[in-house]
Amino acid sequence: MKGCIFNIDAGYLEGLCRGFKCGILKQSDYLNLVQCETLEDLKLHLQGTDYGTFLANEPSPLSVSTIDDKLREKLVIEFQHLRNHSVEPMSTFLDFITYSYMIDNIILLITGTLHQRPISELIPKCHPLGSFEQMEAIHVAATPAELYNAVLVDTPLAPFFVDCISEQDLDEMNIEIIRNTLYKAYLEAFYEFCKLIGGTTADVMCEILAFEADRRAIIITINSFGTELSKDDRAKLYPRCGKLNPDGLAALARADDYEQVKAVAEYYAEYAALFEGAGNNVGDKTLEDKFFEHEVTLNVNAFLQQFHFGVFYSYLKLKEQECRNIVWISECVAQKHRAKIDNYIPIF
């Protein structure tokens, strides 16, 4: 039934999004890109793709950062276009997507101010999708409570932040905890929201978000080894909307080293496969890359279904991956470091 009336509000935007999706670079494009000798070559080749003339107005010595900025700018324009034309409940859904960027921005700014960087230097580094009005005044706050009361209380992030207020002061460790607590709250809320929407959206998005949650839990666990983070604290940071919940998370909370994490993952077929091929040796793919690859597959699969909001999320994530790929390749080209140029993650 939902499918029948989906097109009234979101049909145009879904069509638009699928059109955008067709512009994502193919394997053959990547094969051409990695052959580039200079960034100018890269520009010339990108001109032949959906990116068109996005670099045409840049003066000649190109830098990787300009490419990065322009790639991001194009993506943001597309996303904003979708957002501006959307109606409820899709607009809330799209807003939810931007919240993760807001979290990243806040953490970036707090860490920056902690290291005595001027705020004007930090602002350009923030992701434009996650910018909000009070963002630049964030350095007023010295403690999490102040941060909440002065800055965040008006933002949509306020409900996620409630759990962090108890932290005493802002040091590196606490910021990391804040970030992960925020993220946990955000993921759980997003998951609930998608369930509320129901239908295909819930099917597709819950799958993706569950993976996202599990990935965070695993990464947090692996990264916490050898730090002062206690096991109890660590357990509090796990998002509880993934497939690992509750048994897997409980097992993860007890884990002491990489092998034990791997043992936990063994119980879950898809994660076991990811751990299987990962390694730190030369030529092996890192666990992180494996996760990225799996994420890309999930996102590509989202396009197999119709009449749901998941395509917007997936499109954004795929496009981000593509930006990372292009930037990776351009870095390799710019630094004449061609050995690892093939370490991009192909999408189609």
């Binding site: 080749h45 045409a56 107005n57």
Partner: protein, 833 residues
């Protein structure tokens, strides 16, 4: 057969160009626009080709030009069109000059812009400061207001004031902030400082210019009072976060006044400097604007040439470039000439070599057009491009397209308007073209100006045939109908009929087009016109389709596809002739053999009473049955042996379908078999001869298409043709439908809009004269006139046509109203009154 009939003959040529001369030669060929180059290195990436550096330089130049253009547009300086001829592609060495010029211009402009921006920033700061000083004055005045002090005293009491006396030393900051940020700013201040600051703000009425984007933005002045240093740093941080600019603002009124004076003088100084900078910038841009279009063309031409050169192959010796291209066979001479010119221009001694090559590849279709035919050719291209050397339908479209349009648009008046518009566009062609209007709608019209003109002219012709001018009729030759009713019948009867068998009809038709009397027949005008237009549409349609099928015969003959003639063309045309052309014939038979019943009713069978419906007849023919509703006293056929003939026709037409379906695949299969056995024999023969190496020519391999594919293709083709001829026949009825719609809408427009407007004008204008005229002509009061009068203004009826001569009821009801004949021919337009 000229090139108008079918697409031009093309040959593949190989071109050897000397490296130095290549640029000039390609430039000359580009100006001709007759050559299509083939990509000889399709596997090479865009950035690995030979002339990629030059292309990149062109890109860079284009970027600079775009920057210039943007700046020119921002200042609203008109860019001069290219006077006269479009510039030729410059020599490669000129490229360096161009690059230098652009570089210089860009740098100059950037510098000027930078200066201007700095000045503007300065100016903005000063204006903001000015506003701050002006606005804060009010705040300070309020503070100093003695009545306020009393308020304070009463509120705080003597002690409170004394206690606060020391602490009342409030600090403040003043600044300017974007107006839309104020609410969030205020909230943040309150939250971060726990309500311990006092904010006053006032809006700056005039918008300020943002120096970096040169947008107009609205801002507000604010002043924040607070106490203590801690709050001060906090407030400053928040101000910084909200991108508010803070300005020093002296506390003492005298200092403020002094500062304001200083600011004013500095603003004035800045204004002059800014003016000079702007002047300089303007001069630079005006100079650039004169040439920019010219430059754009030049750079694009260079880029196009290098793109073309990138398609070429490099000879082993690196001395010459090898190109392959398709050229029209007739233009080989012109191309040779152009190449020679190119060589001369480049000063090279070795002439380029142009070799014709034999190839099995399909050449591209090229239809030579001129400004008249190009619009029609584009219409054809909208449906598809013909295969190489196929008959080009465009020349016939020149007549059929405007004519079919005119059948639907038939109205002399509307057609004339359209024709005049079309003629104006054709007449003013050159100046209009030079204007380069960007509007898409205009360009559609202007591109099809000859079509519009022809459509207008043809519409005038069909309008004459339909006797329709702004939904009125012209009575040029005098109607062939007279009315013979006496006056009392005319006045009382609701509707009257004119019988074609009686004296009402003069027994000879109106010489040209529809008799104008039908304009007055309100009851059956549409029925009559429908019958006529429907039949005409079908007749035109069937002839149109027959013509199209005949064109395919030319294709078959030209490509020597004899099988196709026998198993495609003949069954196709038979199918069409036996079914639909027969229907057309029936129409003519009906028109000629049935007439009005003669007065004595001696032969009822040829009267209109017995005339059968063509549609019913045709349907019955397909179903092999007779009309069950046929009247008993009529013949059930239109001519002797009709039933037998019809049965034969239908069966024969149906027999054509399997021929179309299986004929061609069958012959192809047979041919393949024959060839296979032949090939077998030849191999055996060669084997016997001991020359096993002699390869049998594998030409057959090229032709051996998959037989199932042939079947499927033929099935699609047949289904399309059979269904198509049925549905197209029905589709041609659209000619009638749209013609009807047009006529009816024109009538509505006339009745509801134009006549109302015109008549009110005329009534006021001619009331008196009409009165006089009516008095003298009371006896012959022409009712066409009165009809108008009675309808448009009932009140004036009594004065105009007194008596019973024209009661409104009678006039309105008259169906075939020819009863004005006594007063002369019915006038199509009543305005002569």
């Amino acid at each position: 057969m000229g090139s108008l009939f079918r697409s031009e003959e093309m040959t593949l040529c190989q071109l050897f160009l000397q490296s130095e001369a290549a640029y000039a030669c390609v430039s000359e060929l580009g100006e001709l626009g007759l050559v299509q180059f083939r990509d000889l290195n399709p596997d090479v990436n865009a950035f690995q080709r030979k002339f990629v550096n030059e292309v990149r330089r062109c890109d860079e130049m284009e970027r600079k030009l775009r920057y210039l253009e943007k700046e020119i547009r921002r200042d609203g300086i008109p860019m001069l069109e290219i006077p006269g001829e479009v510039p030729e592609a410059p020599q490669p060495r000129e490229m360096i000059d161009l690059e230098a010029t652009f570089e210089k211009l860009e740098n100059e402009l950037r510098e000027v812009n930078q200066n201007a921006e700095a000045l503007k920033r300065n100016y903005l700061e000063l204006t903001e400061l000015k506003h701050i000083l002006r606005k804060t004055q009010v705040f300070f005045d309020e503070m100093a207001d003695p009545s306020r002090e009393e308020e304070q005293v009463t509120l705080l009491g003597e002690e409170g004031l004394m206690a606060g006396g020391q602490a009342l030393k409030l600090g403040f900051v003043a600044g300017v902030i974007l107006r839309e940020r104020i609410p969030a700013f205020e909230r943040m201040l309150w939250r971060a400082c726990r309500g311990n600051v006092f904010l006053r703000q006032a809006e700056i009425d005039t918008p300020l210019e943002d120096p970096s984007s040169s947008d107009q933005v609205y801002k507000s002045v604010f002043i924040i009072f607070f106490q203590g240093d801690q709050l001060k740093t906090r407030v400053k941080k928040i101000c910084e976060g909200f991108r508010a600019t803070l300005y020093p603002c002296p506390e003492a009124p005298a200092d403020r006044r002094e500062m304001a004076m200083g600011v004013m003088t500095r603003i004035e100084d800045l204004n002059t400097v800014l003016g000079q900078t702007q002047d300089h910038r303007h001069r630079v841009l005006v100079a650039a604007a004169k040439n920019i279009k010219n430059w754009f063309v030049k750079v694009r031409k260079i880029k196009a040439i290098y793109h073309t050169l990138n398609l070429f192959n490099l000879d082993v010796t690196q001395k010459c470039l090898i190109a392959e291209c398709w050229v029209p066979a007739l233009d080989l001479e012109t191309i040779q000439l152009a190449l020679r010119r190119g060589t001369e221009r480049s000063g090279s001694s070795v002439p380029p070599i142009l070799n014709r090559m034999e190839t099995l590849e399909d050449p591209p279709t090229y239809n030579r057009t001129n400004k008249f035919t190009s619009a029609f050719q584009n219409l054809i291209y909208a449906y598809g491009v013909a295969t190489y050397r196929e008959v080009n339908p465009a020349p016939y479209t020149i007549i059929t397209f405007p004519f079919l349009f005119a059948v639907m648009f038939g109205d002399l008046g509307h057609g004339a308007i359209m024709a005049v518009f079309g003629f104006w566009m054709c007449y003013k062609e050159k100046p209009l073209q030079a204007k380069k209007i960007d509007s898409e709608i205009w360009n559609i019209f202007f591109g099809g100006r000859y079509i519009v003109l022809l459509m207008g002219l043809f519409s005038m012709y069909t309008g004459l045939i339909y006797n329709d001018i702004f939904s009125k009729s012209l009575n040029i030759f005098g109607s062939s109908w007279r009315q013979n009713y006496n006056e009392s019948t005319l006045t009382t009867a609701k509707s009257l009929q004119l019988n074609p068998d009686s004296m009402d009809y003069l027994q000879h038709p109106y010489p040209f087009g529809i008799d104008p009397v039908w304009q007055l027949a309100e009851a059956n005008k549409i029925i009559f016109m429908n019958a006529y237009k429907m039949k005409i549409s079908i007749i035109i349609g069937v002839f149109h389709m027959l013509f199209g099928v005949c064109l395919s015969l030319w294709n078959h003959l030209y490509f020597k596809r004899r099988i196709s003639v026998y198993v495609e063309f003949i069954p196709q045309i038979l199918f069409l002739l036996l079914l639909f052309f027969y229907m057309v014939l029936l129409m003519f038979i009906k028109w000629t053999s049935y007439g009005p019943s003669p007065p004595n009713f001696d032969d009822v069978r040829t009267s209109g009473y017995c005339a059968p419906s063509i549609l019913i007849t045709f349907i019955n023919m397909m179903l092999f049955k007779t009309d069950p509703n046929m009247r008993t006293d009529c013949d059930d056929t239109m001519f002797a042996g009709q039933m037998g003939l019809q049965k034969f026709f239908v069966i024969a037409a149906l027999m054509c379908v399997p021929v179309m379906l299986f004929g061609k695949p069958y012959f192809i299969m047979k041919e393949q078999k024959a060839r296979a056995s032949q090939g077998h024999q030849s191999i055996e023969a060669s084997a016997e001869n001991g020359t096993a190496g002699g390869a049998p020519v594998p030409a057959s391999a090229h032709h051996d298409e998959d037989i199932t594919e042939v079947f499927i293709h033929q099935a699609i083709h047949t289904i399309e043709y059979v269904l198509g001829s049925v549905s197209h026949t029905a589709s041609y009825l659209r000619l009638w439908a749209l013609s009807l719609a047009h006529a009816q809408l024109a009538e509505v427009a006339w009745n509801m809009l134009l006549r109302k407007g015109i008549s009110t004008l005329i009534i006021i204008h001619t009331l008196s004269t009409c009165r006089a005229a009516c008095r003298t002509r009371r006896r012959t009061c022409a009712c066409g006139r009165c009809r108008w009068r009675t309808r448009s203004s009932p009140r004036s009826r009594g004065t105009c046509c007194s008596g019973k001569a024209c009661s409104p009821r009678a006039t309105r009801a008259a169906s075939t109203c020819t009863w004005c004949s006594r007063a002369g021919p019915p006038s199509p337009s009543p305005s002569w009154c």
